[in-house]
Amino acid sequence: MSGWQQHFIIAPIVIPLVAGALLLFFDERQRVVKAMISVVSCLALAAVAIHLLRLVNSGDFEGVYLLGNWPAPFGIVLVVDRLSALMLVLASILAIPALVFALARWHTAGAHFHSLFQFLLMGLNGAFLTGDLFNLFVFFEVMLAASYGLLMHGSGPMRVKAGLHYIAVNLAAALCFLIGVSAIYGSAGTLNMADLAVRIGEIEGERRMLLEAGAAILGVVFLIKAGMWPLNFWLPGAYSAAVAPVAGIFAIMSKVGIYVILRLSLLVFGQGESAGLGLNVLLYGGMATIAFGTIGVLASQALGRLASYSVLVSSGTLLAVLGLSNGEVTAGALFYMVSSTLTIGAFFMLIELVERGQDAGASVLAVTMEAYGDADEEEEEVEVGVTMPGTIAVLGICFAACGILLSGLPPLSGFVAKFAMLTGMIGVGATGDAPIPASVWWIVGLLILSGLAALISMTRAGIRTFWASMEGTVPRVLVMEMAPVMLLIALTLTLTVKAGPAMSYMEETVRNLQQPGTYIDAVINARRAGVAEPSGPDGGGGI
């Protein structure tokens, strides 16, 4: 037992929980205190996540945490492996810029922004860490409940309407989640993911059918979250209605569904009789999602909707590529997930700054402020910090960077990601001597077309915003708002420069995922704290 280091595993859940609860004690007027607590919590979270990533990467870290010191299949476990550590780092890295961006003005547009933000992070981290299906449901609900509040942050008819649809869809999805989980419990008699992976081999006949049906219903829930066509009509409305920093952090929320699908499909349905359950749905559904997203990107007039459809393109790409279930391609997909999450997060925040100079954006903000009350006079004093010099130039460069990233052009990380995926699919020796199947060619075509569509609509939007605007109104942008966007773009740049180490981490992650035995052993044989070294038959783990 590596002793106290083990407790780092639960820290990503406890830190935002404590911070979020603490924030409730402070009145909304004590903004500085609230902001301080929030920022400290996010920084601590990032530090812990990066530390966990290092521990996991070092190889000799036992990433299993038994809650309440109950042995594995009976109690709830938290598991950190390479994939969950990666997701934790991604979530916490995205949270810092989103929070800083919100501090400039948006956190005053409604009550309890900081608490909700922390609880959202708690739900996200919990979903990434948990090794138990029902616990996953609980963390999903924590995350969703916080997201309902955040989506409607700032109020206004548009957001409330979008929120209404979003909540209705997600409540229905939560019910499906419960049906799926209970069907799995009814057939397998366990909810622990590792235990389920062990027992699935022994389940026969009708029970297997029930189990697969349960898993399929569960899959539908994650596909709703990931935004697979035709389960994604709620997404563009909800994401484009949310205020900029919230939409930025929502960029990771659609990846939670992808994370769970990746985790369960490789752990539970990686081998045995039910192997490859639903892979075709992922493959063709993902392709349909790319097509739908691409059409949406081309058709969008408003930048917010363009970004929302980019979320769909990104989700569709990941789903289709996961449907191929090819190790090398999956590694590329993980890289793509990191890159596209950072890009979309930056883009959502950038849009708000760009549109501020235009009438549409300004009027939305005005409506928000009006609906919430007399925020007008406070707003002036809230805007601490310096106005950005050379605003248009910086905005334009960031916009161009986002366009390059979204369309996957060199030199930024979007290109590296797509290149890695395409090499895995059609590169030399990708399929050995066998011919490359038609479905792969379709994905390749769709990937390239979606990049082209992103390029076209970003160029069009860029020309309209930066070149053709005659009014000459320069939006007033604060350094504090510009810095987060630049930070995210700088991160993608780092990802490009460090593409080698990053890719080898992803490849190692996929190798680990393809050998679920290690994960299962770690969970089932996790030693309890305070119990004599060889846990022995009296350890209570009689499986």
Partner: protein, 112 residues
């Protein structure tokens, strides 16, 4: 008993699905409540339906005479979460009614 339970779940699910597809927000919320009752009963049912059996393991008690305690614990959690989210939805529903002046789910009446 299984038959009564499954018919009950079926009727509630059917009514719930029909209601959440209706255009009024109040119908949607009642539909979601009915669906969550159906789902809660379903969770309860997956542990096997037994009457007059305790979920307690004693010395020398045959395991097959027990009811499964796990679904009971799950259903409690599901009830609490479902209750909280329904209450939240109700608030949003009222806010939407106040802001748009209609109880249509799209925030405006369908043109006749």
């Amino acid at each position: 008993m299984e038959l009564v339970l499954s018919i009950g779940i079926g009727i509630m699910t059917g009514s719930g699905v029909w209601l959440i597809l209706r255009p009024r927000t109040y119908q949607v919320i009642i539909g979601l409540s009915l669906l969550s009752y159906a789902v809660n009963l379903f969770i309860f049912g997956v542990g096997g339906v037994k009457s007059n059996a305790a979920p307690l393991l004693g010395e020398g008690v045959d395991v097959s005479t027990l009811t499964d305690p796990v679904p009971q614990a799950l259903v409690l959690t599901a009830i609490v979460i479902g209750f909280a989210t329904t209450a939240l939805f109700l608030v949003v529903l009222l806010a939407a009614r106040g802001l748009t002046g209609t109880d249509h789910v799209d925030g405006r009446e369908q043109p006749k």
